[in-house]
């Protein structure tokens, strides 16, 4: 069976370590069985920076990305090292609109533990992979899931991201297969 979605692009927005991008690409390919390509870096749009909050508005970045052409990429995930927010929330780890084309992952808050300590880079990369796959799930029209272990469970804090697994629950897996084929 051939997939409706052919390729996923990963685009660094600003300065993002290459190793982090490679780890994310491997996870997308490994978990969702989708070809993943790392695209040339871009800068986040200037108007995305909220000078009062000193954070980047995820909605503005996504809108700017959706207006761009990304070759033959069906879905694109932007990766950045900036603190992201949406107007009602203090922060978000990532953002994507249901069934949209572009999503975001921020590494900024993933690099800190709830107690303020810094985790090893492998933990940060695993957290980033979970957020990226979760947001890609939304782009593929998956909804938030009630199962606490499922990748599509809503994670409001770092500890919840850590509790979440890299796998989809049985139901979300079926929905994903349905969306992909």
């Amino acid at each position: 069976m051939t997939s409706k979605i052919k390729s996923v692009g990963l685009v660094p927005l600003g300065n993002v370590p290459e190793i982090d991008l490679k780890v994310l690409a491997e996870h997308i390919t490994g978990c969702f069985k989708l070809t993943t390509q790392i695209l040339p870096p871009l800068e986040p749009p200037d108007d995305a920076l909220d000078e009062r909050r000193l954070q980047y508005d995820a909605g503005i970045i996504i809108e700017a990305m959706e207006a761009m052409q990304f070759g033959n990429q069906d879905k694109v995930i932007g990766v950045l090292n900036k603190d992201l927010f949406i107007p009602i929330f203090t922060h978000v780890f990532g953002e994507a609109r249901q069934g949209g084309k572009c999503g975001l992952v921020s590494l900024f808050r993933l690099a800190k533990n709830p107690d303020g300590s810094t985790p090893p880079s492998a933990i940060i990369q695993e957290r980033a992979a979970k957020v990226a796959l979760h947001e890609l799930g939304h782009l593929l029209d998956l909804l938030h899931c009630e199962h606490k272990q499922c990748l599509m469970h809503f994670a409001g804090g770092i500890d919840e991201v850590d509790k979440m697994s890299l796998d989809l629950c049985e139901y979300c897996s079926i929905f994903l297969q349905d969306k992909l084929h």
Binding site: I86, P87, F89, Q98, H144, F154, G157, E160
Partner: protein
Amino acid sequence: MDRKMSVMIVDDEAIVRESLFHWFKKYGHIVETAASGFEALEKLETYPFQLLFVDIKMPGMDGIELLEKVKTEYPDTLVIIITAYGSIESAVNAMRIGATDYLLKPFKPDQLSLVMERISVQKRLVTQYNYLKGHLEKITRFDNIIGQSPEMEKVFNLIPEVAQSDASILLAGETGTGKELVAKAIHAESPRSHLPFIAINCGAMPESLLESELFGHQKGVFTGATRARKGFLEVVSGGTLFLDEIGEISSKMQINLLRVLEEKKITSIGSREPVDVDFRLISATRRNLKKEVAEGSFREDFFYRINVIMIEIPPLRKRKEDIPLLVEHFLKKYCQETTKYVDHVTRDAMELLKRYDWPGNVRELENAIERAVVLSKSRTLRVEDLSFIRPPDLQFSKTLSLREMEKTYIQQILEENNWNVTQSAKILKINRVTLHKMMKRYHLERP
């Protein structure tokens, strides 16, 4: 969350509406947005949103005003107030008015999911409560007989008491008061409940047909009797026979039935062989049979035989406090039958329903609600939807003096309000003491 909800976000800031809209969409909820309190109320008119997220500061109608209106018109709708740091006091005030919770914006993502989780638990508990309440009502009340008024309480208390005996019961009440429902409830509560309940409307058929229906007939005794047929008095075998409009039967039929009740035997038309019968008789009438007995138009011996226990079912105009409950019941019933969603009645419309005297009683009210639900274009019944109900204008004879007119009017208001002086004084726009003085002056007393 275990079930999807219908959510409306009410905020004058488009970015807030948009953020929340996308967040709720990710849960698969039905999401709608409104830029003002007025728009929100308009949308609530057409769709029963379960949950509203309302910004406290909005131009025109603010969040508190909207909350008050929503809680008055749609008390089941949950409201979460969104507020900025500067207006925590208003948020606390909102909780007092009936908001389910409040969130200070911007809020942490897990705060919103926590609030939604709490709502989900609350919703589940409410569903369980409603299920158990309904179950309990079925156990302690009688299906489809609705009422909380003292008059209906008396009837409810009598049903299980009289159900245990085999004494004949006469149900007296105007047309449409629910006599057959009471008869069915008595049967259901009685030791005969597993046996048939047969209802016959004596006023709806000619005497010869009624006789044949009750007593049965042999083959060939009259034209059309191509085969023998058992009568209902025999078919009911052990169950309950409900004879509605018993006041309509002829003197001859009264004698025939009297004999059956005394001998517990019937002889079908054309037969000479009596057959044993066993049934419990419940009769009903809308006429004043006692008066007819006194006038000689109804047999006294038969009257006392069918009237071992009398239950009077009050007309709806004497239990107007039951009208909101009945309206709610019929709205639910006809919403299910018509698949339309009408769950509210404006205060004015309810006042109109309560002011009308309902000569056709509960049946007329039920028909009115059915008609209004079918014709209604929104989820709220308004006075315009009930335009076919015309409360009778006060009719005064032109020969009445001013004093007589005053007395008649005061008496009418007192009767309509069950002789409640405080309530009547409020309608008459005079104080209670004045009303008491006028009642004394006109010798008006509760009968």
